[in-house]
Symmetry: C2
DNA sequence: CTTTTTCACTTGCAAATCGCAAGTCACAAC
DNA sequence: GTTGTGACTTGCGATTTGCAAGTGAAAAAG
């Protein structure tokens, strides 16, 4: 059980006072922002994340979810007691990552051939962007 | 000597057609976007990147620079012949990463106590943002 | 009521990556 | 000629990945 200690709003490592550096300490890896992307798409349960086409290894999925929880980005609430099952949701702090995902999706769609922005629920609504304007 | 082959605009691994996933395959790690940040700040030479306060290990710096080069995000041009010395600069594709760095800086400054957005040269000008309004 | 599935994770482990320290190479300075 | 500087490379132990298989409990199937 990795649910050891969160010591509230942990100061993390903090390798520098730079917001970019510290942000990357939290989600700078190949999987974390992908589970955030799935959360933004409305995924709530372990199996839904594991079922995404990128096929995250289940041990990493469990690890990333628990890190995101201790980082205050997702919440983990039981939706059934026996056997204990939880569902995950973004906190406001997690939802605030949306512009980052958006920016990455924009860049990728424009600069990596063969990729496309996939539907992100309520994407336009949340940022006030017009679908037809850029 | 990691300068092996770039095979033009390589199709990369491409673990899915998702722009976010493929973007993360390129810069989804703790250091890559940090050197992009430094490039946006105007850093040009190896020593300048190595001198940033996050203290990237030099072997990783060399590796990240060559990956960024093969990804078409930075260019490496000699500024002296003997001994051969190069300087690095962002391509347009690399400069297009600016909104991502911006989004991360915004998020970090707002959600990670003790961090702040550091000056990013010509940040406002490139995005049409007003420095005094937020 | 016994067997099979499903869900949500763990565990094991080989292979890849990281990060620190030290080394190299060529010239420039002292 | 000894030291310094810039740009890397090399070694290597420690950590992290990623794949496969296992676990536990209930729900569905036979």
């Amino acid at each position: 059980m990795k649910r050891k200690k969160a010591s509230e709003t942990a100061p993390l490592e903090g390798r520098s006072p730079c917001a970019v550096a510290c942000g990357l300490d939290i989600f700078g890896d190949r999987w974390t922002l992908l589970v955030v992307r799935d959360l933004l798409r409305g995924h709530r349960r372990y199996g839904e994340f594991a079922g995404s086409k990128e096929k995250i290894p289940t041990n990493l999925l469990a690890d990333r979810l628990s890190r995101l929880e201790t980082a205050g980005i997702v919440t983990r609430t039981p939706y059934q007691d026996n056997p204990p099952r939880y569902e995950y949701a973004l906190t406001p702090k997690g939802d605030a990552l949306r512009p980052i995902i958006r920016a990455i999706a924009d860049w990728g769609a424009q600069h990596i051939p063969g990729t496309r922005r996939m539907d992100m629920a309520a994407q336009a609504a949340a940022t006030g962007d017009k679908p037809s304007s850029r």
